[in-house]
Symmetry: C3
Subunit: 169 residues, 3 copies
């Protein structure tokens, strides 16, 4: 298992970090961005790969008018539109739990998720959205915040192989 | 923390990838197999270690007659029997969400989960099922699709230590 | 991406393992401690970083009288008080599922979660609780089992960068 002479072994650098952000829950998104921003502040190159429910984190808050099938429109309605609308993975209680956490964060002067996303971008964290997930869920580029890279599993794997801190969130 | 002279340091190869598949949700299973198959196609040795709910992904679709305790029988009934019956981790709506996603995937000619599993096997992805989970949930070998390896936490750790892309899904 | 000459590259040792324990579900906590204890038994240095719901795993079972705001008190009530009260991530059925799993584990002489935690401590597994999560959820040190280290994202990242088996559970 250890050695495959037939393939060049890429160099591994622990300062390269790649997070798959599969979840679209507020609590997990916060964890992902806190780790990403902490790592960037400590000199790491961080790639976040948003897939499945995770792409909702990158949606614009405002409704965007794009052509969609009925099923795509339904998915678009049912899924949260952006970082300010995400629920909690536990104790969400129809959004009350998420509102409580947001309130506590404000009171304690902890950066909100939109602020964490802005910091990540300023710090050069690479934000990549999974093309296949967008296609499956009928989310289009115009519906996402600007400046997000698009990529597939190969993009993810190239980034993951270059580092040793790889998480699936 | 960095150095333990008392233990031989195994070589780390980023082309060795090990995924713990803990979840038995359709969406997470799809993510796991898409990563596994992508990696295999790019020359990686991939091990998938199925534990807890993840073992349901490997169950045969058909009912298999085996001796079980009442509790084991209950677990067997309540848990999904195989890749075609898994639900979504979010928006499952009693299976409607999962059916919608399966419909979209068919329409867009995206490989289904059973197809992804077949591809993984052809590509030599190593599929290991956790013995302890099988024991706890009362799932027996005859109930799983053929050709799955059985292993424990040591099997998992040996594989994980040989690589740098380690995910818990 | 591969090389950042400006930062010293820390040595990576696969025998250093770092688990983020984000979840407070019984099944995921069991998985985390089984991996941690298995790794420690095989000569690894293991760090578990408990954040968000994961900090509930470390709460004392008994009520601890501390000064709290009303919101903190509500969170404290709604979240499970310690390892013996956690629910399952799936099929919890108001605690019945968790009770069933605990019953099966007892019957099969599988170590319970409190026993696994005790083993981890004896084996020198480093248990770190996230300061920010404690602050947000209003959980105080007196409410946690004794001897837990407190740390932030930098503590986590230092540990993660030293190894190649990094999981988010």
């Amino acid at each position: 298992l250890q050695d495959h002479a037939s393939h060049a072994t890429p160099a591994i650098n622990p300062k390269n970090k790649t997070l798959v952000v599969f979840s679209g829950d507020l609590d997990k998104a916060l964890a992902a961005f806190i780790i990403a921003n902490g790592a960037a502040a400590m000199g790491s190159h961080v790639t976040m790969f948003f897939t499945f429910w995770g792409i909702n984190i990158l949606r614009r808050n405002e409704r965007v008018s794009v052509a969609k099938t009925i099923v795509e429109r339904m998915f678009g309605w049912m899924m949260p539109r952006g970082a300010t609308r995400l629920g909690l993975s536990k104790m969400n209680m129809a959004g009350m739990g998420a509102a409580m956490i947001r309130g506590i964060m404000r009171k304690k002067n902890v950066a909100s998720l939109p602020e964490l996303i802005a910091t990540a971008r300023q710090a050069g964290v690479r934000l990549v959205v999974c093309s296949m997930s967008m296609d499956l869920m009928g989310i289009q580029r115009e519906e996402l915040i600007a400046g997000i890279e698009e990529g597939g599993v190969a993009t993810y794997l190239d980034s993951a192989e270059a580092g040793s801190v790889n998480l699936f969130i």
